[in-house]
């Protein structure tokens, strides 16, 4: 086989390889983004507020009702981030 033909064949194979690698890379990147989109999930749902005595929710010492109404995240007993400064 003439050396020029071999060179052309090798070049064509290399080009085809590069083309398909590029296609796979693009496909992989798209798949990675799809995987990531599914992983960006919201934080946990808030936990249950505690029990209330027979006196009911009205009154100064009903902690769960105060937690429900409070504007402060600490009083509201919401999930905490790890290692919050």
């Amino acid at each position: 086989m003439p050396r020029a033909l071999v060179r052309h064949l090798l070049l064509a194979a290399a080009l085809a390889g590069a083309f398909f690698c590029g296609r796979f890379a693009v496909a992989n990147a798209a798949a990675a983004e799809d995987v990531l989109a599914g992983q960006l999930t919201p934080s946990a749902a808030p936990g249950l507020l505690g029990p209330i005595t027979s006196a009911g929710r009205k009154g100064w010492d009903c902690k769960p009702e105060h937690a429900a109404a409070s504007a402060s995240v600490h009083a509201a007993e919401l999930p905490a981030a790890p290692d919050t400064r």
Partner: protein
């Protein structure tokens, strides 16, 4: 003159001491021979006792025992506020027994008896999220927020429900409002970033995630989301670094650790 002043002082002190020793009068023992009145008093006493035993059972994590006590109180059907409160407490016991549908039914009944019962609404949203009923969760969260517009729990709950149902615009509004009064709450910055990302506001998402990480430096889920946002912007090297940092912080979350490792490995620099 001095003697009279001294006498006045002694008299005042004596009166104060006497006042401080006063005790409230004893509650008179009900005296009746009427059978219905006696039955009513017995029921009232039973309700009080079952509440006391039920609450003790809840604090001891004896949910089955607590459920039995509060179910009996509900069956007695006491007047308000005991009726709605018993249903609220029964729902807590049911939720801990993984009887979420029963818990939701009791909380609905509690809210029907007491339409302003915020704690019951808060717990109903939490229970609905656990049972995957986003429609009711959203409806209750809307009502909760309408009654308590500044409530951190109402804003957080509706924001989470909105993210779960693809309503990123409402989530953005709720977490933004929550952060207005609680700017150091890293979790809300993270959720706001998720809303911004879903709305295509990638720069805003990155900013919120960086704020979350400045407040909570080992917040692995925020670090992972930052990697995703950077990758979406084509900043592959920075994204890879974020996934590496996620792996360092996600030791307690094997699923996140694995996905972060896979993402790190998939990025060829």
């Amino acid at each position: 003159m001095r003697i009279s002043v001294l006498a006045t002082l002694i008299a005042l002190l004596t009166t104060t001491a006497a006042l401080s020793q006063m005790y409230p009068g004893a509650t008179p023992v009900p005296r009746t021979t009427s059978a219905p009145a006696l039955a009513d008093l017995a029921k009232q006493r039973e309700v009080e006792e079952r509440f006391r035993i039920g609450l003790a059972a809840l604090s001891a994590a004896n949910y089955k025992g607590a459920a039995a006590e509060f179910a009996r109180v509900v069956a007695i059907n006491p007047a308000e506020p005991k009726g709605s409160t018993a249903r609220y407490d029964l729902a807590i016991a049911y939720a801990n027994l993984q009887r979420e549908d029963d818990a939701a039914a009791q909380l609905r009944a509690a809210i029907e008896l007491d339409p302003g019962f915020l704690a019951a609404m808060a717990n109903l949203v939490a229970v609905d999220l656990a049972r995957g009923d986003f429609t009711e969760a959203r409806s209750v969260a809307d009502r909760f927020l309408a009654l308590a517009p500044d409530s951190a729990r109402a804003l957080y709950a509706r924001g989470i429900v909105a993210l779960g149902t693809g309503d990123a615009a409402t989530a953005r509004e709720d977490f933004g409002k929550l952060l207005h009064s609680n700017p150091a709450y890293a979790v809300a910055h993270y959720d706001l970033a998720i809303a911004e990302e879903r709305l295509g506001h990638i720069d805003a998402a990155e900013r919120e995630l960086r704020t979350a990480l400045s407040l909570a430096p080992t917040y692995a889920r925020a670090e992972f989301a930052l990697g995703a946002v950077l990758l979406r912007q084509g900043r592959r090297s920075e994204a890879r670094d974020a996934f590496v940092r996620t792996m360092q912080d996600a030791s307690g979350d094997p699923a996140l650790l694995n996905i972060a490792a896979a993402m790190r490995d998939s990025i060829a620099i």
